[in-house]
Amino acid sequence: MNRVILAVAGGRKTQSIVEDCRSCPEGRRILVLGYTTASQHELLTRIRAAGVHGHQVEVMGWFAFLLQHLVRPYLPLLYEGRRLTGLNFEGDPGRYATGIERFLDTDDRAYMLHLAKLAHDVAAASNGAAIDRLEHIYDEIYIDEVQDLGGWDLEIIQLLLKTKLRITMVGDMRQALLSTNIKDPKNKPYRKEKIFNWFQLMEQRKLLSIEQAPTTYRSSQPIATLSDSIFDPSLGYAPTISASTETHEHAGLFTVREADAIEYAQRHEALCLRHSRAVAKHLDLPFMTFGVAKGRTVDHVLIYPTAKALQFLTGGARLEGQAACALYVGVTRAKHSVAFITDQQLLNTTAWTRAPILPKAPGPS
């Protein structure tokens, strides 16, 4: 059965793929697809370190997969006489380009912009051969960081879900800050974190089952609970459970006055985060944006909240969409403590002072 595993931040998503690869029976062939180069590299290193050899498990990028296994073999069936020569990363054929000019540049390199659509069209032109070929080469396909896919990528996934291949997708919608193709108008209602709705649709069509893996091995329970509260419970995410056993003398949720921010950051070596460069310009702190911080793990974070985030943290309206995802990514970087820079009093947090009182049992009451 095809599965999509919805993990939480710090849920050891990559580790679960590595372990599946290691325990897979001899002779089964697995393809693992990563989205970013960094994640492919990490997947490959960890799979090889686990003693799994290339003959059985192959790691590839999403674009390389589309090119090598869908476009390349059958391109002449869609465009007679054409051969793929590579990938055009940055080019844009323009919105009025039609036919082959929309997909291939003058050197027959495929535009990354429309690659998924091209792959889908070639697969269709091959009359099932492209899928049959894949079924002969692999038994299973893993897709890591699936929340980063969208647009025509989803059509490709749907194609894969209908094959004999066993598809396992791993991801966390709440961290959907990247997207393979922002300009792709296909599947617009399912962009970014809303890909969850698409998975639910696929589940209704009996093409996959959604599994939630709500355990975090990184953050403490108070941080995990805070991260859950960012999203509307009606979205259907299971509550996160912390399996972290580490303790730290500075742990919990804090508010830090603007005047104390630099002192706090230095004393606790906290990672300073903000939504974008436009925010908190007046503070002389080494800020990083949420998007850039994705994938990192630190002991402590210090967040400069946006006005909307502040509203939410003081008991106001919930955040939605990308704003929610961004805050979620920020909060879940931390193992032990999360602090917000504000002069207001936030719910369920401890006000930090220069001579801090260390709370014995921090967390929401």
Binding site: R29, Q68, R72, P73, Y74, L75, P76, L77, R83, L84, S126, A129, R133, H136, I137, Y138
Partner: protein, 532 residues
């Protein structure tokens, strides 16, 4: 398994295609019809190499089809934009193996969706200017400048190949190769090294290096002391000797197979051929292995060949696909006539629907010269040597030359039935005239029985039973007893009617050489007239 070989513009093959048998293929043909070229082409497309060297390094103007080049040069004179000749060799595979399926796609000339490998030789666009300049030179040679071409080895997924895919095995056994100085030729070395897993190979390599090092420290120690003494006078740094540790001194170069304690290179060539076949059989399993054997009969006496063919037979099938070239009817009969690929120009003939009984029949009569029958373009089938000589005489009288001069091969059946021989000729679509004695049966009945094999260009002529059961009485009838006695140079008391059946070949020879006129029986006349 290779299901199709397509060759365009390579040597003899201008536009060639053959669908080989899954297990065994026996490639026959006259000299210069391209038997070796076919094996060479398969090797090129399967390994990207020829005799162990990359196709690109071996590009040769004579790889291009001569007619292609001639047509190109003629067309170039009118239009310099005419595309230059190119070479394309494609192997189409049928395999469910995942590693073979990776090579699947439609990048082939037949637009078929299947796995495959191909070797293409095309103009290298980097040398456009040089090529144009070469062609514009009035003093240029009439050959293609291969320097401005490149060989590309790819699979049907349009992905360049850098080494032979592990799933596709290849063994080349060429009994004709002369012993190389290294003791073992490239192909045999390939076969040997394929026995080993990479880990085993590395272990041997390490042990070999170690033993060479030990030799340096122990045995060479004494020598080195001597060398060192006094070397200081000649040179600033001390001099010493060590064993060669370079790649040239790899263990592979120092290892040779031996048989019964005799090194391979010292064994007879016949034995070498047997050993190579034996080695090729015992390799580790690959999903598809192509075994190419060039003229196994070379250097082998009959009994040894017999054994060798036994081995080859067990080799075929189950993941092994054999291609054997041969000039030997024995090899052909033994491996099965139905496995025949007869080369003739660009259209090879394969016998796919030969009766199983006929295949078995020729397997048992493995000494029969089937190949002559297969290779002849126009042939006359006669019962025995006496019929052969009489027919030749009749032909000579009519056309003033012997049938051989017209490319007509007169073949004695020597006990092979007309039915089997005609079936074979039918499957090969050969022009045949068959001459048969009636042995007392009505001619119409004999012809009726063989009707399915007869046509406009396959005729059967049978003597009228009223004029005699066999050739001899027919001849006497046609010439009269007295004249026949003269032709045969018999004594007056000898009766040709009784002498001839007892001296069939002697009589026929006398007829062939007689200066007297000889009247041919009607059915022989008709047979001769068929060639008018």
């Amino acid at each position: 398994m290779i299901t199709k070989v397509v060759i365009q513009g390579y040597r003899k093959f201008r536009s060639f295609s053959v669908a080989p048998d899954a297990a065994t293929n026996i490639i026959v043909g006259d000299n210069e019809t391209g038997k070796s070229t076919l094996l060479e082409a398969i090797t090129l497309a399967l390994s990207g190499r020829i005799d162990g060297r990359w196709a690109n390094e071996e590009l040769n103007p004579y790889w291009f089809n001569a007619e292609d080049v001639r047509d190109y040069l003629a067309a170039y004179a009118k239009d310099p934009q005419t595309p230059a000749p190119s070479i394309r060799i494609e192997l189409y595979f049928d395999s469910e193996d995942p590693d073979v399926q990776r090579m699947r796609g439609v990048h082939n000339s037949l637009r078929l969706d299947c796995p495959g490998t191909k070797l293409e030789v095309v103009r290298n666009p980097d040398y456009d200017e040089e090529f144009t300049a070469y062609m514009a030179d009035p003093d240029r040679l009439g050959v293609m400048p291969t320097e401005y071409f490149e060989a590309m080895w790819k699979d049907f997924n349009d992905t360049p190949l850098r080494r032979r895919p592990a799933a596709l095995g290849l063994s080349m056994i060429d009994s004709r190769t002369i012993r190389s100085k290294a003791g073992v030729d490239y192909h045999t070395r390939e076969i040997l090294s394929s026995f080993l897993e990479p880990k085993e190979r590395a272990a041997i390599s390490v042990a070999h290096r170690k033993s060479r090092h030990e030799m340096t420290t122990s045995s060479l120690g004494g020598l080195n002391e001597k060398v060192r003494d006094g070397s200081e006078d000649l040179h600033d740094a001390p001099l010493s000797l060590t064993m060669d540790q370079s790649a040239r001194a790899s263990w592979e170069a120092g290892v040779v197979p031996q048989v019964d304690n005799i090194p391979f290179a010292m064994a007879g060539q016949g034995q070498q051929a047997s050993i190579k076949v034996a080695l090729a059989m015992k390799r580790r399993a690959e999903s598809a292995r192509t075994v190419l054997i060039e003229e196994p009969e070379t250097h082998l006496a009959y009994s040894r060949l017999h054994k060798l063919i036994d081995r080859v037979e067990t080799l075929a099938g189950k993941n092994q696909q054999l291609f054997v070239t041969t000039h030997s009817s024995f090899v052909l009969n033994r491996l099965g006539l139905d496995k025949l690929i007869c080369l003739r120009g660009d259209t090879p003939a394969r016998i796919t629907d030969l009766d199983d009984g006929t295949v078995a029949y020729f397997k048992h009569l493995s000494g029969y010269d089937t190949l002559r029958l297969v290779l002849a373009t126009r042939l006359v089938l006669v019962e025995g040597p006496s019929d052969e000589m009489v027919f030749k005489r009749g032909y000579f009288d009519r056309f003033n030359k012997y049938p051989e001069a017209d490319g007509i091969d007169v073949i004695s059946m020597n006990g092979i039935t007309f039915k089997r021989a005609l079936e074979l000729c039918t499957r090969l679509d050969r022009d045949v005239v068959a001459l048969q004695d009636n042995d007392g049966t009505d001619a119409a009945n004999i012809v009726e029985e063989l009707k399915e094999y007869l046509s406009v260009n396959r005729k059967m002529f049978v003597g009228d039973p009223a004029l005699g059961k066999t050739l001899e009485p027919q001849l006497v009838k046609a010439n009269g007893v007295d004249h026949m006695r003269t032709v045969l140079g018999l004594r007056p008391q000898d009766n040709p009617d009784t002498w001839m059946p007892n001296h069939k070949t002697e009589g026929a020879l006398r007829i062939l050489e007689s200066e007297q006129t000889v009247v041919m029986p009607d059915y022989v006349k008709q047979a001769v007239e068929h060639f008018a």
